[in-house]
Amino acid sequence: MQQLLFAILTMVAGVLACVVYFFGTNWLLDKIFPSKGLTGPQASKNLRITNAIRPWLFMAPALFALGIYLVYPVFESVRLSLHDRSGQQFVGLSNFRWMLGDGEFRQSIFNNFLWLLVVPALSTFFGLVIAALTDRIWWGNIAKTLIFMPMAISFVGAAVIWKFVYDYRSEGSEQIGILNAIVVAMGGQPEAWMTIPFWNNFFLMVILIWIQTGFAMVILSAALRGIPEETIEAAVIDGANGFQIFFKIMVPQIWGTIAVVWTTITILVLKVFDIVLAMTNGQWQTQVLANLMFDWMFRGGGDFGRGASIAVVIMVLVIPIMIWNIRNATKEMER
């Protein structure tokens, strides 16, 4: 309880500090370069100076935090990836050479690749289908809320929920995991799903798909509603059936949104960590890059060189999407 009080006090202090900073610097600027009450060239000169400085005063705290927490670490991580485990000795590309020969790393790359193929595709597909179906029924909004709900659940919480679904008891005893109970009821053998190499990756992916479908559904549902009615009416008059309208009229009009959803989930997949850590911690050939990176960060007292080089690999995989995003955002601003 005491620490909660401390937290709230800090919060108040932090907000107050922000207020004092913004108000104070602004007041100081107007004091040093006054423009009110003055006339002629002096006033317009002061106005120009304050207008040039003020944006930077407004942005300074944010830019400072962004610089320390995101910009500087990017460069530092690249630098560390070229150094040894303690970050002192320059070792060139040897960390990356180690990677190529390391079985666990190759396993991670392969698994991440599987994740990249499956999760964004299925999440977007389910999201699109559910968005289209729920638009036509009266209880669609309730259904949407329930499917959207896993979005709010932490990856660790979701891992526990699904670990319970996948729970395994040896053959003959009563299964309390619903998946094995269904398998047994249908006459099959119970399986320890997490320990079946290769396929266990897909059981992990189900969790992320379960979480992300709601996100895809919400975005795509809004996009579907934005489609001009006339295009659909015209198709109906021309005698198109439901499937034709969906795939030939509606989907082509929302390609842009589908791409945004797809890339957003792709980035999330590249960083997937909590689920693997909680479910298998990379055992049974389920290792992924983010978990491997975390592992090396602390393994044997921490190997910062190898950890950083794995982070750089994740970053390199993200860069194409980053460029695509920046291009889109710039295009949108010019419009």
Partner: protein
């Protein structure tokens, strides 16, 4: 909206949505139901049988021979195997290999001329022709039909004994300041990027869009080194709440600035121009006009940031200690998965406590969450 809505196809639509909703909610429902069940029942039967009577193999012990009374020249021990329960015994036995050797109500010969009778209601009677020796009571195995039992015991246990209660406070301690402090910082920055012309503005916006997707993994090692350095320099521990608040603020800022800038840029230009004509400065315009108008966007961001900081595991694992008054809920849950892997009564109750706060936020503020998602869908979570 489509012609098919009156055709028989609509039944198929209803059914398939029903199936999808079931698929998406059953796992969570199973967790919630299980967390409320009696732990002995939870361990032997699936949550979907929670409402039916289950048959369990149990072990009990008769009262010790010290409790025997002499009756009609025989020595008798009596008692009840099911204290205060409503279960029904169907069979019993005295050897672990034959736990259901005798039917309830019958008398069993258990050697030395002694007989054991166990009735359906759990009452038992041991009759012996000679005085019984020893201090330990006879072990009795029995099969009982146990009616469904729901309880809050699991919650009581995890909140106190497993440290979930302390972690709940820790999670709040992390999430509240980490949600509130960045808002003002981001709002000022967003206003400058939206409405104050200065050279390099377009580049700065592009940089922020780029930072939206920078993987957290890039920041971990350099910041860990930085924190260790600062901690050593100032003579304080490197892993503190202040450190994690600032880290969450830094990681949340790109989304905050991006969301708020988009929103503010969409506000009508006339409002600002008429205020400027009236002699208001940028500072006045921002504080008195833009900030109140931006409330929906601020709320969207606050919800995102709260869910993200509450649900986060990675940042807490790296930047916060693992002591009892620092370990957050997600971290505790991962630890429990390792140490109490088979104790589903502990895991389900703990997990439900972990997800209840985000669920409340989700259901009460869903509108803002959806709006924020639609505005900031470039961000990768």
């Amino acid at each position: 909206m489509i012609a098919t809505s009156r055709s028989p196809l609509i039944i198929v639509v209803h059914l398939s949505v029903l199936l999808l909703v079931a698929l998406w909610t059953l796992p969570t429902a199973g967790l919630l139901i299980s967390s409320l069940r009696d732990k002995d029942q939870l361990a032997v039967s699936g949550w979907w049988t929670a409402l039916s009577t289950s048959s369990q193999n149990l072990t009990g012990r008769a009262a010790s021979p010290e409790a025997q009374v002499e009756k009609d020249g025989k020595f008798v021990i009596t008692g009840n195997l099911i204290e205060g329960g409503t279960s029904k015994v169907s069979a019993f036995g005295v050897r672990p290999m034959q736990p259901a050797a005798f039917e309830a109500g019958t008398s069993a010969d258990i050697g030395d001329g002694q007989t054991l009778t166990v009735n359906e209601d759990g009452s038992y009677e041991i009759v012996s022709p000679t005085r019984m020796e020893g201090t330990r009571g006879q072990r009795i195995f029995f099969t009982a039909a146990v009616p469904p039992r729901f309880t809050l015991d699991n919650y009581r246990e995890v909140l106190n004994a497993e440290g979930i209660g302390a972690s709940f406070i820790n999670s709040l301690t992390v999430a509240i300041p980490a949600t509130i402090i960045p808002i003002l910082v981001a709002a000022f920055c967003a206003y400058a990027l939206a409405w104050m012309p200065f050279p390099g503005r377009a580049i700065l916006i592009a940089v922020i869009v780029g930072l939206l997707v920078v993987p957290l993994q890039m920041s971990l090692i350099p910041l860990l080194k930085l924190y260790n350095g600062v901690g050593a320099f100032l003579g304080v521990p490197a892993k503190t709440y202040v450190g994690i608040w600032l880290a969450h603020m830094g990681f949340g800022l790109p989304l905050a600035v991006y969301l708020l800038r988009n929103y503010m840029a969409g506000l009508p230009r006339e409002i600002m121009e008429s205020a400027r004509v009236d002699g208001a400065s940028d500072f006045d315009i921002f504080v008195k006009i833009i900030l109140p108008l931006s409330f929906p966007a601020l709320a969207s961001f606050a919800i995102f940031q709260f869910l993200w900081t509450w649900n986060d595991l990675l940042v807490a694992m790296v930047f916060l200690g693992t002591g009892n008054n620092e370990l957050v809920l997600t971290g505790r849950l991962v630890n429990l998965l390792g140490s109490r892997g088979g104790n589903w009564e502990i895991l389900t109750a703990s997990a439900f406590i972990t997800i209840i706060v985000p669920l409340i936020v989700f259901f009460s503020l869903q509108r803002y969450l959806v709006r924020g998602l639609l505005a900031g869908s470039v961000k990768g979570g």
